[in-house]
Symmetry: C2
Subunit: 420 residues, 2 copies
């Protein structure tokens, strides 16, 4: 790729590029001189269980790596070892060295699904921030002003509202900035919420006789609901260790327009490629569901390989597209008396309810489905001549019921309980 093509590819989907001219120049001189850019990303080693929202940033690292640049993955263990020294935040207890190392290993195992381990440098910032000493930290703190720090929106708001900002909170962005000094970073990547911190690195580097790093931020990924940002707490996420079928199914559940940002942020497709897909859908040349399935298969392949992705696509077709049932649903043969069998009784028989009364409550709550249709009548019965059908309670309890006429001498069914 030419530097101009690199620029377009690397800034795809990004929110901030500080500054465009600097990045173009760095890409140009890297292409001329052959020196790869040093691309730094910092990670907090406290939450190693990643979802697709986290992969937006990791994929941006991958794009730099794909173009031959050097990616440095900085584990922010220095601040993690300290935690929140005020003790006010329960979310930031200090971590032990062992916990940090274990989290780092988990991190690596996850990010190396996207990144090339052989071309990724993993480092720990306690190495240089610890060595800085109290004296070095004071010298570092001399490079930034209180007024500059209070420009950060969060600090400004807290200050204006009279909420306390402790002074060590001013030191953390500087410590992160020093990572860039130590590593002589050319480009730092981060989420858009990190823009201020990344710019602190940019600001202080010239005072260390280094060129200011370029700052590139990626957006927050919208969750499956299309409304809130993807997060565990909003339960609108796809974890990167989830099984292929779950991943595929979750991705197929998104609204069609959400495909486009997902294509941009969760795949390596270039903007022109994505625009072509979009045109195909808009003109009716391709069905949106097929294009969405292509997205889902691409994402699943990243984490589970192409075979698993193809299998997941086929399974999805069976389960949902043809409205057929999962192939793994257990069969449940049932002998049905000539006058029929109460559904409440059948639910107990399948092990889906502890009593007919409880089964009646399930029906009236709307939790019970026959062949996907909600049952509304708690007195409903099943006839002996019925064809096999799928009985479901909620999402988890599913059985394929295969009715057969009961033998005439079979004991009478228990008198049906009054349901509910």
């Amino acid at each position: 790729m030419t530097p101009a093509e690199q620029y377009a590819y690397l800034t795809k989907g990004c929110v901030d590029v500080v500054r465009e001219a600097d990045l173009r120049r760095k890409l140009g001189s890297s292409a001329d001189g052959g020196r790869p850019l040093h691309v730094k990303v910092g990670f907090d080693p406290t939450a190693p269980d990643l979802h697709l929202g986290h992969t937006v940033l990791i994929r941006k690292m991958k794009h730099f790596q794909d173009l031959g640049h050097t990616v440095v993955f900085v584990i922010g263990d220095f601040t993690a070892l300290i935690g929140d020294p005020t003790g006010r935040s329960k979310a930031r207890p200090p971590l032990t060295r062992e916990e940090i190392d274990a989290n780092a290993e988990t991190y690596k195992a996850q990010v190396f699904k996207l990144l090339d381990p052989d071309r990724t440098v993993v480092d720990f910032n306690s190495r240089w921030l610890g060595a800085l000493g109290s004296e070095g930290l004071i010298r570092l703190a001399a490079r930034y002003s209180v007024a500059q720090m209070l420009e950060r929106r969060e600090f400004r708001q807290r200050y204006d509202e009279g909420r306390s900002i402790t002074i060590h909170e001013f030191l953390y962005p500087l410590a992160q900035a020093y990572d860039s000094v130590y590593l002589e970073t050319d480009v730092e990547l981060g989420g858009t919420d990190q823009l201020f911190n990344l710019n602190v690195g940019r600001d202080i580097m010239p005072s260390y006789d280094l060129p200011a790093q370029v700052v590139l931020t990626t957006p927050l990924l919208v969750g499956l609901d299309g409304v809130e940002k993807m997060s565990k707490s909003a339960n609108n996420y796809v974890g990167i260790t989830e099984p292929p079928d779950d991943m595929f199914g979750k991705l197929m559940s998104i609204a069609d327009p959400l495909m486009w940002p997902y294509y941009t942020l969760l795949t390596d497709r270039s903007e022109p490629e994505i625009a072509a897909l979009r045109d195909a859908v808009d003109s009716g040349a391709r069905h949106p569901k097929a294009v969405k399935a292509e997205l889902a298969a691409t994402v699943v392949a990243d984490f589970h390989g192409t075979t698993a992705a193809r299998d997941a696509a086929a399974e999805f077709e069976r389960r949902f597209a043809r409205k057929s049932l999962p192939s793994a649903v257990p069969e449940h043969p049932v002998a049905i008396p000539a006058d029929g069998l109460r559904l409440t009784r059948l639910l107990v028989d399948c092990g889906f309810a502890p009593s007919a009364a409880a089964a009646g409550r399930l029906i009236r709550q709307g939790s019970v489905r026959l062949d996907g249709e909600r049952v509304e009548d708690p007195w409903r019965s099943v006839a002996p001549a019925a064809t096999p059908f799928v009985l479901q309670v909620g999402k988890r309890r599913v059985a394929r019921v295969v009715p057969a006429p009961a033998a005439a001498d079979s004991p009478p069914a228990d008198s049906p309980a009054f349901p509910g």
Copy 2:
């Protein structure tokens, strides 16, 4: 002394006592349990040439020491080693270890004129602040808020006026406060301009499970002019290494009302004793000059001993009170022709001017005095029958001229140059 008497003596002349009840309690429990209080004073090792203004604080240390308490003299070498890391202040270049040690020795030599060396602990705060490390400094910075720091008047003004405050400036008061934590200080002394910094120590100590230190501030000493604070730059000071005669003379030059704050801040007299002196002056029982001479002798004795003080007092009486001359002025016998000797010629003869022309310029500048009277006529001559007189140029060049008639056969004097 009872704790109440100690309290009165120790707070004599002080500006702030934070808080009175705490100091009374600490003095009480020290008297009960016999444990001496830890009294800390910090000094910046950059300006070791002390004047009487600095002794106000050192004398307050002495008073604690006289009452049996332990005085810790903290040399702030940690920040001195760093200097001003922004490089903007030429007044705060970093010092080398050797410079700091040399300054510390000079300091000690000077303060031990007042303090008892055997009961004074001298320590260097780099010992514990260096060991704190970057991590420890962050934990320290977590104990104070940005808003608290901006309450300091100097910071507030700079912030409001848009002048830069760099973040390390917030760390220095905390570093000084940590001295008190490390030393488990009971009382910290300082100049009134240090009140904020001393209170930071008071504020953070409880978070280290230590009782808050008492803060005691001494005022700035007014200089000899009675207007500005005593300082080298205002040239209204008395250096503590100045010779006894100079010290005595300078102290006698102050206006009478300035005696009373000087008695309070520069001697060990108690307030009742000083009030009695003042009454004696007010009632006419004692002459103010005699009471001032007593002050001057007391101060000189502190730095040069009582014999030197007595000698200085006697010398002062000779030189100024009786308007006689300093006994050490060299005699200069001069043969004067019958028609007199030009003063310009005499000045050359005494070695006070390189030429008669230069001597004439000195007269016209008003620099030449005969018996203390300024000479205005550059053509003035001295008669052979004149009695001995004192010839002065400026303050430094003084001679007692003893005229004698020239022998008749002596060669004629050079023809006098046209003066100037």
